[in-house]
């Protein structure tokens, strides 16, 4: 057998490894994009939930004012004022919780996207190293069998 056969086989093997590495990295990139998309969706959900809470509180205020007017109470009515204050405090807490939760989820998705990209790069580097290994192995075999 011609020793250059082993060089050829080493090269083919290395090319195959690198090509597979690129494909694997590509897949990880796509996964990262999905994670980023998910993060955006989570942020959107936070905004939607915040808006909903604001609207809910606004409706409550409107209803309460109607009731106060109906009961002929002043806007300075202390009990009414206390009720409204408590409601506003509660609404603020709810809105802050929702915001925190959604922002945290979105941030986690972005972290996962970073990890996926990193895995893609690692897969590509591993394939590259495997390719180098195949090349060097082929070269060793070639060198041992060729006239020295």
């Amino acid at each position: 057998m011609d020793p250059s056969f082993f060089l050829f086989m080493g090269a083919v093997n290395a090319m195959g490894q690198m090509s597979a590495g690129r494909a694997q990295a590509d897949l990880y990139n796509r996964q990262a994009q999905q994670y980023e998309f998910d993060a955006d969706m989570q942020r959107l959900r936070g905004l939607q939930e915040g808006n909903a809470l604001a609207e809910k509180f606004s409706a409550y205020q409107r209803t309460a004012n109607v009731q106060r007017a109906k009961l002929n109470r002043s806007t300075n009515d202390r009990s009414f004022g206390a009720m409204m204050k408590k409601a506003r405090t509660s609404q603020d807490e709810e809105q802050a919780r929702s915001l925190l939760q959604n922002l945290a989820s979105a941030q986690q998705s972005r972290g996962r996207a970073d990890i996926s990209r990193m895995e893609g790069r690692v897969a590509q580097q591993t394939a590259f190293l495997n390719g180098i290994n195949s090349l060097s192995s082929g070269f060793y075999q070639y060198s041992t069998l060729s006239p020295s």
């Binding site: 057998m1 020793p3 056969f5 082993f6 086989m9 080493g10 083919v12 093997n13 195959g16 490894q17 090509s19 597979a20 590495g21 494909a23 694997q24 897949l27 990880y28 796509r30 996964q31 999905q34 994670y35 998309f37 998910d38 993060a39 969706m41 989570q42 959107l44 959900r45 939607q48 939930e49 909903a52 989820s105 998705s109 996962r112 996926s116 895995e119 897969a123 394939a127 495997n130 195949s134 192995s137 082929g138 075999q141 060198s143 041992t144 069998l145 060729s146 006239p147 020295s148």
Partner: protein, 699 residues
């Protein structure tokens, strides 16, 4: 009515989830890599093995020496890979190491031979050679230096040892040769055998042995010393015995060689017995023997082992004397037998064989034919044409069995060979046929078997028939059929018989009287019919029957076997038959009265009338043993045993006859040696008186 306020459901967008990443590309890459590695690995292993094998074969065929036989150091070819070099280089190194060793050893051995017992000269020459040889060995030069030093020292040491050994060996050989010569002198009885002289020599010789043992312990062991001492003792002990035997040989004399031989043997045996411890020597014997040192003291003092050895040697001497005497006797007998033959007398078969062997040195058929048909340097004409030649007389005057070489000359195989060698010459055939007829006929033209086998008689009859017919000119064709293994006897004999069967043919053409005749014809007829055709085969068979069987009807044999091949009439000539008749009479006289009464109705048994000879079976040699039977073929018993006419009687008769003739010949010779006859009246008278006295005493 209050207006219904719209209450919307709380529904928000949420993350849609992430699909997992497939590992397929990695798995594919791994699988591809695995397959690729496996294939490459296998191909690599195979290529490595191929390259290794190629390297081994190349190295094995490596030419290491040039056309002058000089070692040429070469490197491996550049085309070799690292693998090949890794395999080939160690092998090549070993091969070169061996060749270098061979060169060094061979040169060393050569120089050792050139410098025997000169180690210094050897080392100088060897190192001088190595100075030129080392550099030419290239990378192996250091190994050459080491080997040269090592072997050089070994060879030099061996030379030093050889040198020392040589000097020691020379000294030892001189000393042991001196001792050995002394002992040989004693053994050959070259020295005087006076007892005083013997004691001095014995003491000196034993001292020499002890000196050898002390001075050369590595060359002369105590076992050697014991053996040597035993030899010395034996040599000295042998001196008296030798003296006695020599004296006996010189003093015992008799005009009769047999008597002289026996006397000498008896005397030697007496000495031998005395040495073995069976002493029959008388005082007178001792008085005579003491002159040679053979005394009672000698017998008492000599160790038994040595005496036994001496006795064995004496037995050998005695046996040699017997052999010499037997040889002499054989020669004497042959000379006497030759005289008898020359005077037209008859000698027995054994004596005739002895004459052929001893006088004419004939041992094979070829010897006999050469002598008989061409003659020796003393014969003016060949014995076959000289009726006065002893060989001619021996085979024609005698009617008993012929010596074996003569019988073998007429055997079928020998005759076929002779005829083939003579290019189927009919004269040659006629010569043998005539000779055969001459020696197998008695005076009355009766066929005598002379010890010839059935095959020989049949074949000679065939030859006779052939020589008489027109086919004689074509004898080669006929005989080639006999010797051709592919000749189909069965088919050709059937062809010759045409419509007849073999038993019909035998019944129609031959007057068969006994089963023996029928069996004989049945056995020989197919081949004869196949080879010769019906007419000639019938003639041959008829003649063979007449020769093989006594067809006139024997008066001795049982009537139904009157036609017998063992009829005494065809075995014995006229004179012999008279003695045979006498033997029968003697045998018949042994038949008791009771037997005569019961078996013969009180009549005397008479051969051919009421007693007969039974057809013998299992016959060994030319003469059979006959059993005497009555008319009913029942054996006659005497003293519980069958009455027989043994062949031993006839053989002894021939022997006695021979002895008688020998005695007559001896007497004749004695008288002839005494010179012309001179009458001595006084001695004749005294002899007559003694004869008369003896006769009276016998009465």
């Amino acid at each position: 009515m209050a207006i219904q306020v719209y209450r919307k459901e709380q529904n928000f967008n949420a993350p849609i989830g992430v699909a997992g990443v497939s590992q397929a590309p990695t798995r594919l890459a791994n699988a591809f890599s695995k397959v690729s590695e496996n294939i490459t690995g296998m191909v690599y292993d195979r290529t490595v093995e191929d390259q290794k094998q190629e390297a081994r074969e190349d190295v094995a065929n490596f030419t290491m020496r040039d056309e002058n036989g000089e070692l040429v150091v070469k490197s491996l070819p550049d085309s070799y890979s690292r693998i090949q070099k890794g395999v080939a280089q160690p092998i090549l190194d070993r091969m070169y190491a061996q060749q270098l060793e061979v060169d060094i050893k061979a040169k060393g051995a050569e120089l050792v031979r050139a410098h025997p017992n000169d180690p210094e000269g050897f080392l100088e020459a060897f190192n001088g050679w190595a100075e030129g040889y080392g550099p030419s060995s290239g990378q192996y030069a250091p190994a050459v230096d080491i080997a040269v030093q090592s072997y050089g020292l070994q060879y030099a040491n061996a030379l030093y040892v050889d040198k020392a050994n040589l000097e020691d060996t020379l000294a030892f050989n001189n000393a042991s040769q001196l001792l050995s010569d002394n002992v040989k002198d004693i053994e050959s009885s070259a020295l005087d055998y006076s007892p005083q002289f013997n004691v001095a020599w014995l003491t000196k010789s034993l001292e020499q042995v002890d000196e050898l043992l002390i001075n050369y312990p590595s060359r002369f062991s105590s076992t050697n010393a014991d053996t040597f001492k035993k030899r010395i003792f034996k040599a000295f002990a042998k001196v008296p015995v030798n003296g006695v035997v020599n004296q006996l040989a010189n003093t015992i004399f008799s005009s009769n060689p047999e008597q002289q031989s026996k006397m000498l043997e008896a005397s030697i045996n007496k000495i031998s017995l005395a040495l073995r411890g069976v002493n029959t020597l008388t005082e007178d014997d001792y008085n005579l023997l003491s002159a040679f040192g053979f005394t009672k003291e000698y017998l008492a003092n000599t160790p038994q082992v040595i005496k036994s050895d001496l006795a064995s040697e004496l037995t050998n001497i005695s046996n040699t004397l017997s052999e010499n005497y037997n040889l002499e006797l054989k020669q004497t007998n042959a000379a006497m037998s030759l005289d008898i033959i020359n005077s037209n007398g008859v000698v027995s078969t054994d004596k005739a064989s002895n004459v052929l062997e001893t006088i004419y040195e004939i041992e094979t058929v070829e010897d006999f034919m050469s002598k008989f048909f061409t003659g020796g340097p003393d014969d003016s004409i060949a014995p076959v044409d000289d009726v006065n030649h002893p060989l001619y007389k021996m085979i024609t005057n005698n009617k008993q069995a012929l010596p074996k070489v003569v019988r073998d000359m007429f055997s079928k195989s020998n005759q076929l060979e002779i005829i083939a060698n003579s290019n189927f010459d009919s004269k040659q055939v006629n010569q043998f046929v005539r000779l055969f007829n001459r020696i197998t006929r008695d005076r009355t033209n009766q066929f005598m078997s002379r010890g010839f086998s059935d095959e020989t008689i049949t074949f000679m009859t065939e030859l006779e028939a052939l020589s008489k017919t027109a086919q004689a000119t074509n004898i080669g064709t006929v005989l080639s059929k006999i010797t051709n293994p592919e000749f189909d006897i069965k088919a050709m004999s059937k062809f010759a018989l045409a419509d007849e069967t073999l038993p019909q043919y035998i019944g129609d053409n031959f007057n068969i009287k006994t089963p023996q005749e029928f069996n004989f014809v049945n056995k020989v007829a197919p081949q004869l019919l196949a080879v010769y055709g019906k007419d000639l085969a019938t003639d041959i068979i008829e003649q063979t029957l007449n020769r093989r069987f006594y067809r006139k009807g024997s008066k001795y044999m049982v009537p139904e076997f009157a036609v017998s091949q063992f009829a005494p009439e065809s075995l014995y000539s006229g004179d012999d038959l008279e003695f045979f008749d006498f033997t029968i009479e003697t045998a018949l006289s042994r038949i008791g009265t009771d037997t005569k009464q019961t078996r013969f109705n009180r009549q005397e048994p008479v051969m051919g009338k009421n007693v007969f000879l039974m057809e013998p079976r299992n016959v060994y040699g030319p003469y059979p043993d006959y059993i005497v039977v009555d008319e009913d073929n029942v054996p006659i018993l005497t003293n519980g045993e069958m009455l027989t006419i043994p062949r031993a009687g006839m053989i002894k008769y021939h022997q006695d006859l021979g002895k008688l003739r020998e005695k007559e010949m001896m007497d004749f010779r004695t008288k002839a040696d005494q010179g012309p006859y001179q009458p001595d009246t006084a001695s004749r008278l005294s002899k007559q008186i003694e004869d008369i006295k003896k006769a009276n005493e016998n009465r």
